[in-house]
């Protein structure tokens, strides 16, 4: 039996409905789910809880996803703390910027099922 590693997933997302489904799904996978409602909170939470991966939305109040990513990457690089951008804001500019800032993958939420998203997480963390 493969040892199911328990990952700590930080989900930075301002939509409560989406937080819930994502959270439930992660929990069902047997991973730890840490929510944050905006970039600012996200940064604080990183310090507190040391996640293995960040699911990062872009459009958020107080601090946007890209801003937070910038801050994160000041401290943690891709190897240490991979980031998956999960957003419905698909402007191409953001994609290249996000990748340039050190995101691993850029996903448009509406185009992926939860199952597919879990797959991607697994891909990145393995």
């Amino acid at each position: 039996m493969a040892k199911k590693k328990s990952y700590k997933i930080l989900v930075v997302e301002d939509e409560p409905a989406l937080q819930q489904t994502l959270g439930d799904k992660i929990k069902r996978e047997g991973w730890e789910y840490i929510p944050s409602l905006n970039g600012e909170e996200g940064l604080r939470t990183i310090k507190k809880s040391q996640p293995d991966l960040i699911i990062l939305d872009l459009l958020m109040p107080k601090m946007s996803g890209l801003e937070m990513l910038k801050e994160v990457r000041k401290i943690y690089d891709k190897q240490d703390l991979p980031v998956i951008i999960l957003t419905n804001y698909s402007e191409g500019q953001n994609v290249s910027e996000a990748i340039a800032l050190g995101a691993d993958i850029f996903l448009v939420k509406a185009n992926y099922s939860l199952e597919e998203i879990i797959e991607k997480i697994r891909e990145v963390l393995d």
Partner: protein, 740 residues
């Protein structure tokens, strides 16, 4: 002086001057001749008169001498002297009385004794005894008698044996003298003969009546100081001729000759009035004046006529030339009305012709210039009123002209920018990187092609603005750049609108996607049984929800793509792509759908190898996918087995990809709308209710952005869609990364 006047003057001068010259000569000549003639005549007459006078005097003396020599008388007188008796006296008286009677001209005779006492006298005039006696007969005097009649007093001594015993005195008429003086023959109408002697005062006393003064005898005098009168000279003994400067006793200018009778002391003047002498001269002069005047008139008339005939054409020509020099061609031609058949006429004709040609030339030129100006005005107007900014520069980029829009767009006025270098920081340019400008100049100056691009400029007040620019070189016939024409359009607003649209679309799509995502995830989890087992019906319903939701998501994606494609924001990233591989991948992807539709999907590879071409694989894959899935979706449900064939071939300069099906086809009436946004044909809708109507629209945009063309053929038996891609590859386009 005008030519006409010159000619007339010449004519007049040429005729009059010789005429006058000749006239003057003739006059002078004639005068001389006349003078000489008259003078000779006068001299001759004067001599004759002198002769005559002498003869008359001789005659007188002879008469008196005769008496004195009468023997009878002498004897009687001698006797008387001794013995003065009355008988003797009477005898003497009777003697002289005879002479008196027999000589009509004798007026009185008196015999005087030696003492001077009158012995006997007969006749009327009696004279006082004289004191002076001469020894020979002489004319003692001419005197006025008591009646005022001039008489001659003659005297002769009576001599016997050499001693004077007495004298005889005779008073005679002066008629002989008068006759001499009264003979004016040869002296014209005004000639006179004057006989005069000096009186006691020394003045000249006329002795005889004269032509113009019958009572002049012994009355009229000419004062001795009047040396301008010939009489004065005559009585002084001068024998001369006087041609000029002399007047007579009347004060009238005369020609005169003087003679002197020595023994009497009498002067003779033969004179004639100058006027009479020179009268012929005067009439010559008058005639001459008449001739000259008449000639002058005639000459003037002729001269005017001839001069006019000569000068008229010249004058016309000169006037015409004047008008020509002022640019008045019509007047120049019209002025010349007369072409004489001489060299002037030739000149005039040539001139008229030249003027006509010039007029024509000018007219043509004017018309051309007008036309060009019209054209120019049209174009100037067009350029000036263009909404975009139009700048014309010389090959070095110095601004020659800019239209009005420059002030509106850049904030600089036309006069501020003329002559300055375009694209400089001081004006509205210079904000793009050096590479940009390098490329710009290379394109227009070295490649001599049009440059199009977008850039950012700044207005005079410092504000930045977006510009769509198009700069074209204008070349001369030697392919050298003479101008650059740059058109700039301020697209700041468009860019803003674009940006807003983009943002709107992004935000809108984001806002739409968020609830769609929520629905998807929640429903998916329930559908997958994560929240408990479901019965079939529940699963069915949830499936429906999921499918509808998926449709919505696809629609949002399509809308987003369309928006991006339309605003040109899709990146075309050409990479060398193997088409065979690409199509193969798509075929694989569509495999599931093909199976579901029970369709045969075939890919016909090309006969000869097609090398990789530069295309954007993502975009082209999308197109092929769209065409294939359309073919599969719109296949016939009954009848022949559904078959979709993909063909790849090469035909210079393109590759050709076609997707052929035997599906439901596109109704002919709707075929022209197939590529329209959101268009779906009725039969398509019936066949497959899903479908956004955007697939072909997007495919067309992608194909055309890639440099190719897309078209189709369709009937009830099926449809074939074909598109081309250039072998040279698609042009790269910067936008945002790919399609959703």
């Amino acid at each position: 002086m005008k030519l006409f006047t010159q000619l007339v003057t010449l004519f007049i001068g040429l005729t009059l001057i010789p005429l006058i010259f000749v006239g003057l000569l003739t006059y002078a000549n004639t005068k001389g001749v006349i003078t000489d003639q008259i003078m000779a005549q006068l001299v001759s007459i004067a001599d004759i008169k002198k002769n005559q006078m002498n003869q008359v005097i001789d005659a007188y003396l002879a008469d008196v001498e005769e008496l004195a020599l009468r023997n009878y008388l002498r004897l009687n007188l001698e006797e008387y002297n001794q013995n003065p008796t009355i008988e003797l006296a009477s005898s003497i008286e009777a003697n002289i009385f005879d002479s008196l009677i027999s000589s009509p001209e004798i007026v009185s005779i008196a015999i005087k004794d030696s003492k001077g006492k009158t012995v006997a006298s007969v006749g009327d005039d009696y004279v006082e005894p004289l004191v002076n006696t001469k020894q020979s007969p002489a004319i003692e005097n001419i005197f006025m008698n008591s009646q005022g009649i001039p008489r001659v007093l003659l005297r002769s001594p009576i001599i016997v044996n050499n001693s004077t015993i007495g004298s005889v005195e005779v008073v005679s008429k002066i008629d002989p003298f008068r006759i001499i003086a009264g003979d004016y023959s040869g002296l014209g109408q005004s000639g006179e003969v004057l006989i005069a002697k000096k009186n006691e005062a020394g003045d000249a006393l006329f002795l005889t009546p004269i032509r113009f003064d019958q009572g002049a005898a012994l009355k009229r005098i000419v004062k001795k100081d009047r040396t301008d009168v010939p009489s004065t000279h005559a009585v002084s003994g001068e024998e001369a001729f006087f041609l000029s400067g002399m007047v007579d006793y009347r004060g009238v200018p005369v020609l005169a000759v003087t003679r002197f009778i020595d023994r009497q002391g009498w002067g003779i003047v033969v004179k004639i009035d100058r006027d009479e002498v020179f009268q012929p001269l005067t009439s010559i002069l008058l005639t001459f004046i008449v001739i000259i005047t008449t000639t002058l008139l005639a000459v003037v008339l002729v001269a005017v006529f001839v001069a006019r005939a000569i000068t008229k054409p010249i004058s016309q020509l000169s006037q015409a030339a004047g008008k020509l020099s002022q640019g008045n061609f019509t007047a120049a031609i019209e002025i010349i009305s007369y072409y004489p058949s001489n060299e002037i006429g030739v000149m005039a004709k040539a001139f008229t012709k030249m003027a006509s040609q010039l007029k024509e030339l000018y007219r043509n030129l004017e018309a051309k210039v007008k036309e060009r100006t019209h054209d120019l005005e049209k174009f100037e107007l067009a350029v000036d009123s263009a909404y975009d900014q139009i700048v014309i520069t010389n090959p070095d980029g110095l601004i020659l002209h800019a239209n009005k829009s420059i002030e509106r767009i850049t904030g600089f006025k036309l006069k501020e920018v003329l002559g300055r270098k375009v694209g400089s920081r001081e004006l509205w340019g210079g904000q793009m990187g050096p590479d940009f400008y390098k490329k710009l100049w290379k394109t227009i100056k070295i490649d001599k092609k049009t440059f199009s691009g977008e850039l950012i400029n700044h207005r005079k007040n410092g504000d930045n603005y977006n510009v769509l620019v198009r700069i074209s070189p204008v070349l001369d016939d030697k392919n050298r750049v003479v101008y650059f024409v740059g058109i700039e359009r301020d697209i700041t607003k468009e860019k803003e609108v674009d940006k807003m649209k983009t943002e709107f679309v992004s935000v809108a799509s984001h806002q739409l996607r968020t609830p769609l995502t929520a629905i998807r995830w929640y429903v998916e989890e329930v559908y997958n049984g994560e929240l408990g087992k479901l019965n079939k019906n529940q699963k069915d319903y949830l499936k429906q929800i999921l499918e509808s939701n998926e449709r919505m998501i696809r629609l949002v994606n399509d809308l987003l793509n369309v928006s991006r494609l339309e605003s040109g924001r899709v990146t075309v990233e050409p990479v060398l792509t193997d088409l065979v591989e690409l199509i193969g991948t798509v075929v694989n992807e569509c495999g599931i759908l093909a199976k579901a539709k029970n369709c045969q999907l075939n890919f016909i590879k090309p006969k000869s190898k097609i090398s990789k071409i530069k295309i954007d694989p993502v975009l082209i894959a999308q197109v092929i996918n769209n065409l294939v899935s359309n073919s599969l979706k719109y296949s016939k449900s009954s009848g022949e087995k559904c078959s979709v064939v993909i063909d790849l071939s090469k035909k210079d300069p393109n590759v050709i990809i076609s997707v052929k099906d035997n599906g439901i086809g596109i109704p002919s009436g709707l075929q022209n709308r197939v590529f329209d946004k959101f268009f779906r044909a009725d039969n398509a809708i019936k066949s497959e209710t899903e479908g956004t109507g955007l697939g072909l629209y997007i495919s067309k945009m992608v194909v055309e952005a890639s440099g190719g063309k897309i078209w189709f053929e369709s009937s009830e038996d099926g449809t074939t869609f074909t598109f081309t891609l250039p072998l040279s590859g698609s042009p790269a386009r910067k936008g945002e990364k790919g399609l959703s």
